[in-house]
Subunit: 162 residues, 2 copies
DNA sequence: TGCTTGTTCGCAACTCGTGCAGATTGGGCG
DNA sequence: CGCCCAATCTGCACGAGTTGCGAACAAGCA
């Protein structure tokens, strides 16, 4: 996304107002490579501006996404995460800690894949999943689905499966 | 996933019981290429077995996923969808109607992409997004993000953005 | 400074799932 | 065939994430 200064101008150019809440979020997002969730941003914003509403954070994020200044990424069914990098790129996610990094892939001919008949593909998202160096070193388990063993009711009670 | 008959045997072999609810779900999932959500399955199941609990549907789906007989797919932040096809494959999703189809991609060297340093990638998910033939013909809009135009408060009120 | 219109707030409501506990039932056994 | 007990089912409450709504508030322009 563009710099806080540029965004300020862009917002005003569209008849949108420049509030301190928005400016704070512009700053928190600019050059932020952590792919924060809305809640993470709310927490961070609250530290600098106690009293800011969670609602305002969601609102501003949605506005930025609608303006094309921010990308919303859906990893799994949990909370959405936001990426100020709107270039054409993809992601790796650590299944243990949730850390996420940008990945550049040359996928020019992917869309020639089998089964796309009739679809006019407008975007392609690739998500690599695995464990980051830190989690691997610490031996943090990937939350698997190691199947059968864990499903036997005689081994563990239902609630342990979660 | 395996046929209802095979699943029946597999469940019993693990000390799991064979209830009519489970058998119904086995049948609804087997050879089902629609990638249904838990709720869609609940609706369909309710038609054949009024009174079946939503909870039971979720439970059974989770069990099948844990057994590796079913794949859970997360497209966006909405509801999870389920795929009885557990082969190595990817998906196309229609951004207008949500229709989803399996896609086979040769992604052998994708993991050699830039930026994966340190991660040991265990899985790769590719999602193509676009509009299916039907939605294109009917002119159904893709829910874009066509940016600026739709965000101007003078053009539409805030609540219309949703 | 005053006005108009966009924003912020905060709470209620909604969606997708899961935890819990009591009522049921599958299925091995006598 | 009938018993018995663990595995299931059901229904409801609860939790996370996010949006709807309306009253109070504040940018930005005249």
């Amino acid at each position: 996304m563009r710099s806080p200064t540029d965004l300020t101008a862009a917002f005003r150019a569209h008849g949108l107002k420049l509030t301190p809440q928005r400016q704070l979020l512009f700053r928190m997002l600019y050059d932020n490579a952590t792919h924060p969730s809305a809640d993470a941003l709310f927490m961070a914003a609250s530290a600098e501006m106690p009293g800011i509403s969670r609602r305002t954070v969601y609102q501003t994020l949605n506005d930025l996404v609608a303006m094309g200044e921010l990308r919303q990424i859906a990893i799994g069914t949990g909370s959405a995460r936001f990426d100020p990098n709107v270039d054409d790129h993809h992601h790796v996610v650590c299944t243990a800690c949730g850390e996420m990094r940008d990945v550049y892939v040359d996928d020019v001919d992917l869309a020639g894949a089998a089964g796309l008949d009739g679809f006019d593909v407008t975007s392609t998202d690739i998500v690599f999943r695995g464990r980051c160096t830190r989690c691997r070193r610490r031996g943090r388990p990937s939350p698997s689905t190691s199947a059968l063993a864990s499903i036997s009711p005689s081994a563990t009670t239902r609630k342990d499966q979660s």
